[in-house]
Symmetry: D2
Subunit: 362 residues, 4 copies
Amino acid sequence: MSSFFGRMFRISTWGESHGGAVGVVIDGCPPRMQLDLEAIQRDLDRRRPGQSKITTQRRESDEVQILSGVFEGKTLGTPILMLVQNTDARPHAYDEMRDKFRPSHADYTYMAKYGIRNWQGGGRSSARETIARVAAGAVAKQLLREWAGIEVLACVEQIHHLKAEIDPDGFTSAQVESNIVRCPVPAIAEEMVTEVDNARRRGDSVGGIVLCTARGVPAGLGDPVFDKLDATLSHACMSIPATRGIEFGSGFSSILMTGIEHNDAFEMREGRIRTRTNRSGGIQGGISNGETIYFRVAFKPTATVMVPQDTVSEAMEETVLQGRGRHDPCVLPRAVPIVEAMTALTLADHLLIGRAGGQWGR
Amino acid sequence: MSSFFGRMFRISTWGESHGGAVGVVIDGCPPRMQLDLEAIQRDLDRRRPGQSKITTQRRESDEVQILSGVFEGKTLGTPILMLVQNTDARPHAYDEMRDKFRPSHADYTYMAKYGIRNWQGGGRSSARETIARVAAGAVAKQLLREWAGIEVLACVEQIHHLKAEIDPDGFTSAQVESNIVRCPVPAIAEEMVTEVDNARRRGDSVGGIVLCTARGVPAGLGDPVFDKLDATLSHACMSIPATRGIEFGSGFSSILMTGIEHNDAFEMREGRIRTRTNRSGGIQGGISNGETIYFRVAFKPTATVMVPQDTVSEAMEETVLQGRGRHDPCVLPRAVPIVEAMTALTLADHLLIGRAGGQWGR
Amino acid sequence: MSSFFGRMFRISTWGESHGGAVGVVIDGCPPRMQLDLEAIQRDLDRRRPGQSKITTQRRESDEVQILSGVFEGKTLGTPILMLVQNTDARPHAYDEMRDKFRPSHADYTYMAKYGIRNWQGGGRSSARETIARVAAGAVAKQLLREWAGIEVLACVEQIHHLKAEIDPDGFTSAQVESNIVRCPVPAIAEEMVTEVDNARRRGDSVGGIVLCTARGVPAGLGDPVFDKLDATLSHACMSIPATRGIEFGSGFSSILMTGIEHNDAFEMREGRIRTRTNRSGGIQGGISNGETIYFRVAFKPTATVMVPQDTVSEAMEETVLQGRGRHDPCVLPRAVPIVEAMTALTLADHLLIGRAGGQWGR
Amino acid sequence: MSSFFGRMFRISTWGESHGGAVGVVIDGCPPRMQLDLEAIQRDLDRRRPGQSKITTQRRESDEVQILSGVFEGKTLGTPILMLVQNTDARPHAYDEMRDKFRPSHADYTYMAKYGIRNWQGGGRSSARETIARVAAGAVAKQLLREWAGIEVLACVEQIHHLKAEIDPDGFTSAQVESNIVRCPVPAIAEEMVTEVDNARRRGDSVGGIVLCTARGVPAGLGDPVFDKLDATLSHACMSIPATRGIEFGSGFSSILMTGIEHNDAFEMREGRIRTRTNRSGGIQGGISNGETIYFRVAFKPTATVMVPQDTVSEAMEETVLQGRGRHDPCVLPRAVPIVEAMTALTLADHLLIGRAGGQWGR
């Protein structure tokens, strides 16, 4: 188990879906920041189940409490403890999971690794642990904004076969939040809602892609050779439940170009060194180059489906699992704030590391 | 700068392309292993420039020296220092790089970050630093084999539009090494060689995909929630120069399936819990499930091309860079041992961490 | 701020004296341990204020709550969150501290470092943070006992000029707990109680020495060259508030011996390699040698005294601070479980690290 | 094995006494520092054997080579590799050590831990590994001086019963280097030389105390609650071979004072907040307070003595070890630069960490 993340802006998360609470310690948040509690709660609300007809109907209010690290509204520089109580626990809804491993979930692998598991709602492997990420990420976002003018903004780019054309520099938070699927292109967004709702009705699920951007990142963030910006962002985002892949800038499609076609020429623009195109996705040699950072994260179709599935039991007997209860037919809308959070945590860490070394910003 | 990697099987790498040497310290390699020096040199030879007509023609013998941590052929449990001297340094070949930033290279971002750079051959951002990864990875491979029966094996799956159909469980090391492009499907391999050679003649370059597998991985490796196996493998592989993306199992294509289509049913096979399909790529909830681990890493077309390119100088003036000298028209063949190395280092780390916690293998 | 400790048995602590709560996350505790809650509470009660007439009379029940990581009484291998609510907060008792720096406390240095401080009761620098250490240490003790048969036991050896002669191998937990000062030699213990009580009546304070032992430690624990057992134990114990020094085995008095006098001869005893004397304190070259580990930690006289003291204000004006309220005339009795806790945490970490590397116990 | 030290100014050391070389990687040294190679060599010369009649007569020139991280005399911000070749290897001088464990050395514990050891000259447990510490420490000293005006200076305060009275603020580097024992009080220094020389003639050895100071440290360095300045300095210094204890400021003698006697009153002096006395040793609550930091490190009498000693063999038979060859009758003179190095490395780490968090110096 490793629930620690970061070197200088470090977090330590904890909590099972049906234990007492889930939460996070932030160690390394700078002092004297006026903490915006509403912004934290707002991001938690974007992650919350039951927020619309296309997310799970579980009712969890997910109100954040802060138990340390803040005094008269300001950060102290000491560890910040944030937690959210678990309220809508219906342990009996999970009785079948006690003995049977849900396909493409973590039930079996947790058992193989630990020899014990909290089978209620997935325990530690439940997406409920991402509350801690989102709460900490909201603090990181505030740090990035105030200290470096960096904005992290993600959206849904694709659900199943429905793909929106989105310019990484050209969509706004208001557009993203204007619909329940969080796709900034209204026409496609509407189709996506229908697609997800249809999957829900069939007891099925669909996956898709989150496009994440970081705007206003100054040149110089990232720590080669192992903690390159794309490497740590990959680490961060690929630790989110249900992810399958990540690509930066031109990504996998760069393969179909030649070097001459693909290279980003440098030019002078507004007195700064800029690239004419941004196939590099704002990162070169693992270090930000001052262009908008953008990358895509693929999420598989949710593993929980409402049909009978072949599986085995803890007693190693073949059996059938009858899906029932409430589920997310598509994690994408709720994944948006989670990807933003992991991105913000990663950038905040590099920001502090860069300051330490007299490197960036000197 | 962060050239440390790993928690228990830790490495620390160092070296510029035109400094005295490049090398690595391994801290945490278990004692009493009979170190197979030839295997280390063999992997370095697979990474070496000049090994065939489709790699750069620079001549570097890249002979490894071990200066500590080994006694009478066996590891002591103390830090192992391995280094390779830099020999074929032609600093004047790089005179133009002194003042001009090469497009889609790290020259500009290193300057933006550090305010100084060794412009000779890329300095620390040169792919020459991967020698350290390959040498350390060869030791990790040996540990994985001896302690857990794990084999890491990668190959080239795609170059530009040429894609081979490869079963992650069905190719051998001999097939990979049977041709200079390291694709186990001979017919496609031949086409790939031609494709790369053509790019070379044009002064152009091409990218592609490395498919990497880890076979024989027992269920239980990986450390949620942040050091999930796919997260740390992503960190490791996305820190390799020229990478653009990574995907596990069904990857980005999972998006076009529904949950019912995509889930891997469990079944009993040969007395073990197995999945009927392996869309999960051997990892569920960030922990290995006993199936073959496989993932794909996308490499962009090499940034060094032999044509004039628009760029800017350190003095912030627009200029043209005239590519010349020797270059790799395609990094894929040499990338194979590097991806293997980073995979082995990551798995070795999880293996030791798992042993510590009384988790896996108990 | 760095409230993370340990590499494999890692903790992350948080909490101010007058915030909502203080607590700890344990990351890396092995799964399937039947957690002994009473043992945790018992150690917290030994640390608790108000436990006797010679400790501070603040009333804090310090009841521990566990919010994650435990299921049906057993550890899950996931992070364990333990917290203790803050109850007896009398912020007004600290009004004078709002503006004036208490001599030999951390008020001034926190202000110099963070530019902000929670002046109520010391905030993060309050000894109240040691609750987190003691709770986590109690879990570590259980791990050490069950996995390796190691017992950690400390006592008060000296208070001011009153020094007990104590054989590191020859005192019991019952003897330590038989009196309120936690010195296992009853005659001296009685004098110590009087000494502390006299200091309390005068509004003064006294310091002393905690002797800590770890018995049953197998040979082979410790990780040279930087994480030698004595180095990490020093780190751990010197991070406890009010410590001034630490010495192992013969310690500072070794200086008055020559090498011939000081060396511990090896001999065979009961089929094992043993040392005839134990001036090494159970550690040689930073690694346990199978003898009892023992060391001494010096605690200064408590900085809080009930007399007027010269100091300066936040406004940088010279002033006088009039001590009042409740205070600990001597931290030694309450320091015993804290030193034990930090020792247990350190040994547990080395135990897991050693298992990882196939080193100890193979 | 853990040969990594530091969080932001990180080092990784390697090397056995009779392997090819010993050395260090520094990861995190800021870029654009004009590296003073002579200063590095000068500190290595102070550590070098054979430098006077009272150190071991082994002849090792210990010339440092830098293989990476420096370009045209300046640091690049990339890892710096420094190494020293092993030259004066007389492996046969150690034949007796092949089978017999030297009392109060690490031969037995290394064998117990690793099941293998390089018995030639102590292997990794040899004091020769401190070359790496001193080389890295010399770079850290330069960083401290240039970035923060901090000077680290140590001296020998006591050898056996001979104790000099030394004001932590009142001795100079020239005084320390004016005699071969490195005690700044000439009269005592002379006696100390005689004392050590007498021990050498008898084949015996003596221990003593190094007093270390850091002057010019601004208020605000140190990272509670676990990485308090005294805690990390203890970790650093207690990892040096042959150390037995460490104490800060008033140290163990604080026990004989009461709180009223011991507290350091604050006052305004030269426009700054100062303490009237400095019993705190420049550290309060684990954070520097702007006064001179000082602490003492106790070194035991060297374990190598030239008389027959009882011991056991690897075959677990009782036997006698006949000491012979060259040895250090007292490590104190050579320990001075080593304590300075570990102190500088620790302070440099805190300096960079503090900069990261917008804490100190903001």
